[in-house]
């Protein structure tokens, strides 16, 4: 029987990992990811899981160790946040290039400096071209569900790419919410046995991982990675469909909320999407035709989904919890680029909000929608919510 628990997002992810019972977990504590590691370490200490845990001396070694473990055929997991992810950066790319089905939970937190421990998306946005699949959770429930789904996507023979499960630091990681967890057996059967390929431990078929790959072959290997990303939508949908059968919860590439008749649509990632939904409910009560599209899958970025949903709307407001200094904010840039090819382009507006954990409230969201209602969205103007002038 599914169980409703009041738990934090960090505990929800650790709980999912407990049910998955991975072979190897290598992680280093960093706020606000730390409770994920702590909860999991307790499972290991209590013998609830068979996992071998590597308490590494840095995030760089965490990612390095899971690369080694995954290449050895172990189902491997790590978790990090912010500057920890930045420290891993080099190896994040290597993990994807070696096509290792690693899963990593990222408690999204602002990158330094100045140092800040609170939520924004600058950490994962800096890794968006690393070749990892990026799933973005709105709440602890989605963080749990994506963790359960992640290995099925990562290990799929058509994909073989690492998956990053993003969940907002503190807001989701430390906030207690109601999470409906599945039975251990159900998760175990859903995730299944690891699909191992080219294990280093198979000495009968020795493989060489990570050779020097020069201009005569490197490009072809990158092309393969590009291709693998193209297979993600199909595989994600398959896995999501199966997941719906065991959970009753339906996921897709994008989450569409009240979009059918919406004239104005907001686009946002993570926990803010929930606050936007809440605000949409209020605005709908006032007769405003507003909706939300939230990328559940941000990498690969599925243009067609946004073209389908956003075509011919009156206004599209994109909220970014990360700035791209000297360029358009990352989510906005992607949406704007997608809309180049739609039949009827909506008015578009870019809003950056919530950097370093600055609160985003329904009032801020209404403010952005107001601009849209007035026809006052300017595609080339970046605006800020909750910022003091």
């Amino acid at each position: 029987m599914p169980l409703k628990q009041a738990i934090t997002g960090a505990e929800a992810i650790a709980y999912a990992m407990k049910q998955i019972n991975p072979d190897v977990v290598a992680a280093y504590p960093i706020t606000p990811q730390t409770p994920v590691v702590e909860y999991f370490a307790k499972y290991v200490a209590d013998g609830v899981v068979d996992t071998e845990m590597i308490p590494v001396e840095s995030e760089h070694s965490a990612m390095s160790a899971v690369v080694g473990a995954a290449a050895a055929g172990a189902r491997s997991f790590t978790a990090t946040a912010a500057v920890g992810l930045a420290l891993m950066h080099e190896i994040v790319f290597i993990a994807a290039s070696l096509r290792l089905p690693i899963v990593m939970a990222v408690a999204n937190r602002a990158l330094s400096g100045p140092i800040n421990i609170h939520c924004d998306h600058s950490d994962s946005m800096a890794e968006r071209d690393s070749g990892w699949i990026q799933l973005w959770a709105e709440n602890a429930q989605e963080a749990y569900d994506f963790t359960v789904m992640a290995y099925r996507i990562a290990e799929h023979p058509d994909v073989r790419l690492p998956v990053m499960v993003n969940f907002d630091g503190f807001i989701i990681s430390h906030g207690v919410e109601v999470v409906e967890t599945l039975d251990d057996e159900v998760v175990k059967n859903f995730v299944g046995k690891p699909i191992r390929m080219n294990s280093l431990l198979d000495t009968s078929k020795p493989v060489t991982y990570g050779p020097l790959d020069l201009y005569d072959y490197y490009f072809e290997h990158k092309r393969q990675q590009i291709e693998a990303m193209k297979h993600v939508p199909k595989v994600f949908k398959q896995v999501a469909e199966e997941f719906a059968k065991i959970s009753g919860r339906k996921y897709d590439l994008v989450d569409e909320y009240m979009v059918d008749d919406a004239e104005y649509i907001m686009v946002a990632l993570g926990s803010t999407a929930g606050t936007i939904k809440h605000t949409i409910n209020e605005l709908r009560a006032q007769g405003k035709k507003v909706g939300l599209v939230k990328p559940w899958v941000f990498r690969p970025f599925i243009k067609a989904e946004f073209q389908r949903v956003l075509n011919a709307r009156k206004g599209v407001v994109v909220l970014d919890r990360a700035a791209s200094f000297g360029a358009e904010a990352p989510l906005y840039e992607a949406i704007k680029s997608a809309l180049y090819e739609v039949a009827v382009r909506p008015q578009l507006g870019s809003y950056v909000y919530g950097l370093g954990g600055r609160d985003i409230t329904p009032d801020h969201i209404k403010q952005a929608f107001e601009d849209a209602f007035k026809g006052n969205l300017i595609a080339d103007e970046e605006r800020y919510l909750g910022l003091r002038e």
Partner: protein
């Protein structure tokens, strides 16, 4: 009986010991022999080696896509993380063994190889962490005293007076001014570790130490003296000669530390002056033509003497009572 050339030739004359022909290391490089000596020992003793290599000469020259000079499982991850990487492989082994997914009678040996750059400098944190965590693996640094892969830049292992491109001998400065980092002692300061220095010029000692490392219940760190004939500016056939000279001058003392117990495995009763070693190599030539050359030589000689005396004292001190 210790392994010797005749026995090894019988075993390996028709097969490659992990590393194969067709690699593209420089002619006369010592590193392939460091690898072969280690892997032959492991295979001869019934182990199946799995190796990780840090970015460096050995890595780039043996795995130029689509070719690999390895017929054993191999992973290269990055420059600074081979210890962490192999710790992941070793942990995966323990996890899968526990879950009954591996043949429990099979003896794996996990090796990590790194140059001095990847070990003394950029990879030191990763190495220290992996050793502290107690993974059962053997880390071998092939120490050629500089970033030779990229053309002779200074590393923490470069000796004073050596001419490198990033610490060149100039009108003012005599090349690298600092002593070589004593990494062996740093590694010996980790608890529950087996640490040894080796040289290909003493294969019996080399292989005995590898054997010990294989049997040691914990991590091992082996520092292998590995002349770079190219950037030390010696003739292609001089790697073994230089290694011998390094031992005879006490520049590279052969010893081991097992859980704090020191043992000097090669006693040198009448050491040759270290100047003989220095003067045999072109990399010191620019320094030797400076007016302060003698001062530098004297300092180095003094250091070498002091280090050896210290080792003998530690051997004596830990003989009956380990220091930990």
């Amino acid at each position: 009986m210790p392994l010797n050339a005749i026995e090894l030739a019988k075993m390996f004359h028709d097969k490659n010991p992990g590393m194969t022909q067709g690699h593209r290391m420089c002619p006369g490089c010592a590193a392939p022999n460091v690898v072969r000596f280690a892997l032959m020992t492991a295979i001869a003793k019934g182990y199946e080696p799995i190796i990780g290599i840090a970015t460096g000469c050995l890595e780039v020259s043996t795995t130029i896509y689509p070719y690999t000079a390895w017929n054993i499982p191999y992973i290269h991850n990055a420059f600074e993380n081979v210890a962490a990487t192999i710790s992941g492989v070793e942990t995966a082994y323990r996890a899968l063994l526990r879950k009954g997914e591996l043949d429990k009678d099979k003896k794996y040996a996990f090796f990590a190889f790194g140059g001095d750059g990847g070990t003394y400098d950029i990879g030191l944190q990763s190495l220290s962490g992996a050793v502290e965590r107690g993974h059962k693996f053997i880390y071998i640094v092939y120490d050629n005293e500089g970033y030779m892969n990229t053309g002779n830049q200074r590393s923490g292992a470069t000796p004073p007076g050596s001419d490198t491109t990033t610490a060149p001998v100039g009108k003012k400065l005599a090349g690298k001014l600092q002593l070589k980092k004593n990494l062996v002692e740093i590694m010996a300061s980790h608890e529950n570790v087996y640490v040894a220095t080796v040289s290909t010029s003493d294969p019996v000692d080399f292989m005995k130490k590898i054997e010990k490392a294989l049997e040691f219940d914990g991590p091992s760190f082996i520092a292998a003296y590995s002349p770079c004939v190219r950037f030390w500016r010696v003739a292609d056939d001089k790697a073994v000669d230089m290694s011998k000279l390094a031992i005879e001058t006490l520049y590279w003392p052969l010893y081991e530390v097992e859980r704090g117990v020191y043992r000097v495995t090669k006693k040198v009763s009448n050491p040759k002056p270290v100047a003989e070693y220095i003067k045999a190599q072109g990399r010191f030539k620019p320094m030797l033509s400076r007016p302060d050359a003698q001062e530098i030589l004297d300092e180095l000689q003094e250091y070498v003497n002091r280090r050896y005396e210290r080792l003998l004292a530690l051997e004596e001190a830990t003989k009956d009572k380990p220091i930990r």
